[in-house]
Assembly symmetry: none
Homo-oligomer: 213 residues x 4
DNA sequence: GATGAATGAGTTTTCATTCAT
DNA sequence: GATGAATGAAAACTCATTCAT
């Protein structure tokens, strides 16, 4: 009758340590980018270096895990919002969530901004994020509240861009990204001005056709 | 008789070395970002490492010098364009020039995106760049071709943001930034939609008032 | 009623685990030499690392146990062969068995080749091996099929030497040691050429008299 | 008129350091085998770790350099002895030199005894050593002072084997290898006993035909 | 003033061993 | 007794910076 609290194992501490580690890594990567050292992360978590490597076999793996966390949360948000009545509002909420998440994470920009992290899980997740965003974008295009040639990948790319715009102000004005999000949304809504230059992007990190006029 | 061509001695070599060094550093930082190593730069310049440190006391200093070069070029562009007849076109040309510069320089991006480079010269130059951009923005606001609450600092921040938006596509589609520049310009032109949220930024890297509504 | 099958409890498991462990360690050390890791051994045995350390307090101890196994087997062979009719054939069989054992065990080689393993049990066993080999050698000397100044320790030392001679060919030609065993046996048989230089060895790992003429 | 001592450069110290380093590495590898650490070598040489890596880009490179030193000296010895009048004596002198060299070097056995060091220079040198030894062996075969089926590679392999035979006695009786060298020479001289089993080896580390009956 | 050798702190990673559960 | 998580002392290697020549 002691219910589900029967797990007596030595896992309690491990789970706690893993949480501390993920927390520490999230903070360290967010603060210092991908250059955050494993040593610093261990220290932040109050663990020995060896323990970090027991949980994640390499720095790449740890970084990938943190990035996947972020990506999965965003994908979830997108998938939930596809069900919303108002596609324009849904798109705005998705982007708000995305930029806000990015605003706390310096490593994310580096990872999304460069094909530096060669991790299939992350690449796949980025692909899924683009797909989920495309679903949102499609509905908004149908509604006519967004330009006809805006893709989900455009939306995902803009998350990083909007964050980057406000990044230099981040310390002094942590909310400044809201300003540039609004600006971007206005740009996306500009339906009368014809198509944008350059072909719409389909995916990230997938070496597209080499031609690029 | 101490004419300008009288001293062909040591000074001439130093000038030449400095030029080689700046050239090499510009290329290395553009290519590899701030992580470019002093060793690689020395090699590219055909100089010894000691010589590099004679010209610039630290990597920070060298990086700052390179960034100043770029900033000064951009400031010059802005100041020249203030004289143009059509403020909207001038603004577009300034931003085109700026984003293109960023697209070819990984280090500039890193530096402008973060207050990581604590160098007063660079801070001042960014301030001057904002001022010059503000002159362009002011004329465009007067013309009514840009929202009333857009500042020069907004413009400068957008350079980094637009670049970042296209950065993941950079290898496959080096010109993709043109797409997002157009999107941003459309956002800037949206004059009927009222003011943007968040107070307009005045400067970069200057710890603003702590309050941030 | 405390018959031999009465305690199936904890003791039975320990015996089984010890067997698994020795098996795994034997394979791992044979394959990778003394550098085989405790982790790999534990995994091979299907046991946890802690269990390995419960059975053997250190890697040295485990290695010593494995080496003792091998040494005991060799000692047994020698003691059995002392009873043989033909001393020359007995000596050849002993050496064949010994070199073949070495050829399949990297660790044995490393350990017998150096006094690196400071373990009294192993030292003693090597002593006993030398004694058993001496019994074989004595009979062969009496028969006149071996030089008069060849000792059992010579024979034991030659096991390692013959193996080492063929070791570089081991992968490509796993049987090459037979060639060098024959060569050594011919050398041992050379009875007309007088005594060998250097005093005959009495024991291994026992710091002999410092003088060495 | 100061003659050839005109080199004023900063090289004097570097040459001295390199000598110290090679000395230290030679000793460390000889003493502890290939597992000697770069840190220990640096310390032995009185240098910082970075300096060691400036001279040799990796541990493999340093180890290869030390091994090449040894190999080149031996090759030189063999080439000199080919000119001698008495082939049997020449062969004995070559083997004496070789075993004596090995007796001081624990790493050499590991390198020769396993294809662990993947360094083309070392592989080539071993090949040249076998060739030089083959020249000596050929003359001895012609003289009839050595079995008809003994190759230079046999001779090179025996160097390691003879050393290994005496290795366990090394501390207590540093000259014991002379005993086993003599034994091996007697084996090589045994001309009346027919051919040895197993095909004669041609080269080291060259994966021979897979068949090995 | 130029050179490039030396430095040493810092990085990622491995592994025998200990210890809480 | 068994488990496997935690530890921490190495190890190889990098790089900005200093300094003797």
């Amino acid at each position: 009758m002691t219910g589900t609290t029967a797990t007596p194992g030595p896992r309690a501490d491990m789970v706690r340590n893993r949480r501390l580690l993920l927390q520490a890594a999230t903070e360290a990567f967010a603060e210092h980018g991908t250059e955050a050292s494993m040593g610093e992360i261990a220290q932040r978590a109050g663990l020995a270096k060896g323990t970090v490597f027991r949980h994640f076999a390499s720095k790449e793996d740890l970084l990938a895990a943190i990035m996947l966390q972020l990506l999965d949360r965003l994908i979830g948000t997108a998938e939930r919002l596809v069900e919303a009545d108002d596609a324009a509002t849904a798109l705005r909420e998705f982007m708000t969530d995305g930029v806000e998440a990015l605003a706390t994470d310096r490593a994310f920009c580096e990872v999304i901004g460069r094909p530096s992290l060669e991790h299939s899980g992350v690449r796949d997740a980025i692909g899924r994020l683009c797909d989920a965003a495309e679903a949102l974008a499609a509905r908004a295009r149908e509604e006519g509240t967004v330009r006809a040639d805006i893709t989900g990948t455009d939306i995902v790319l803009l998350l990083g861009g909007i964050h980057q715009t406000a990044a230099p102000l981040l310390t002094a004005q942590p909310q400044a990204w809201r300003r540039y999000l609004e600006l971007a949304l206005d740009g996306l809504r500009t339906t009368g001005a014809g198509t944008l230059p350059h072909r719409p992007p389909r995916h990230l990190h997938l070496t597209d056709l080499p031609g690029d006029a």
